[in-house]
């Protein structure tokens, strides 16, 4: 295992612990956030706020430390607001609302040994392959 892979393993472990600690691996918390009724559970907002505050601050610090070379730290981004962005995100939201699982928590739940998480993950992989066959959005670092 090389250094990049070790770093990625550590990042994945930390990411997964963050998801467990924040309660986001429990689908009831996610569905509770999407349920804007009297039962509304806002904890997902705290998770997003904590994650964005730390990540954005660290990106700013790293950019400053790198001086003029800071721009090269981040891969280029795709700024276009296009049809695949909207259509894909809309489909994802329906699946997210039906299950309370997004990709990260679903993968962590495999470690819980939940049979339902395996069914979800297998279906998600089928969907990822299917989504690769139709016109889709490219990340900034991919060729269009």
């Amino acid at each position: 295992m090389n250094r990049r892979q070790l770093g990625a393993l550590a990042a994945g472990g930390l990411f997964g612990v963050g998801l467990v600690v924040s309660g986001m691996t429990d689908p009831r918390n996610v569905i509770g956030f999407l349920d804007f009724s009297s039962r509304w559970n806002p904890s997902l907002i705290a998770v997003m706020a904590g994650a964005v505050a730390v990540h954005a601050s660290l990106l700013a610090l790293l950019a400053r430390a790198a001086g003029g070379r800071g721009a090269r730290l981040l891969p280029p981004r795709n700024p276009r607001i296009d049809r695949p962005l909207i259509l894909g995100s809309a489909l994802f939201g329906v699946g997210w609302g039906l299950s309370g699982y997004c990709p990260g928590p679903a993968i962590v739940s495999l470690g819980f040994g939940a049979r339902t998480a395996f069914a979800f993950a297998a279906a998600m992989i089928v969907g990822i392959i299917a989504g690769g066959l139709v016109p889709r959005r490219r990340a900034g670092c991919e060729a269009p």
Binding site: G88, L91, S99, V108, A123, I125
Partner: protein, 136 residues
């Protein structure tokens, strides 16, 4: 709320570690797609996913996380296909658009996040109307 903030902070730190280690955005849907795809950078993506599963294993060893999903497997299979297809077409999920994109002040990621929260909330509202499944 406090556990949410602390867990979120760990996620933000993890996304930064992944970026520094690999030069890539820590979007889980993109990492899964990449782990299935080109051979060149497959190893680091598989390593990240192994870290996620490892965190789940550790959590299951030290506590008893809610592992049984409240909904029927058939619903989860439909949902899984939608999540996989949608994140692939839309170029990201809660982590890639929601955390990393918004941290970079990407308007496109903000629009994506608003879109999936809106359709997710609409789905939950419709499901509640039918009440064909147990309420969580």
């Amino acid at each position: 709320m406090l556990t949410g903030l602390v867990g979120g902070a760990l996620i933000g730190l993890a996304a930064t570690v992944y970026l520094l280690a690999t030069g890539r955005v820590a979007g889980v849907s993109g990492i899964v797609a990449g782990a299935l795809g080109d051979r060149e950078a497959r190893g680091e993506r598989i390593a990240f996913l192994a870290g996620l599963v490892g965190a789940g294993l550790i959590a299951a060893a030290v506590s008893s996380p809610a592992s049984a999903h409240p909904y029927p497997t058939a619903v989860l299979i439909v949902a899984g296909v939608l999540v996989g297809t949608g994140t692939r077409i839309g170029g990201g999920c809660t982590s890639g658009h929601g955390v990393c994109g918004i941290s970079r002040l990407s308007i496109a990621s903000l629009v994506a996040t608003a879109t999936f929260i809106a359709t997710g909330a609409a789905t939950v509202a419709i499901a509640n109307l039918f009440a064909a499944r147990p309420t969580p």
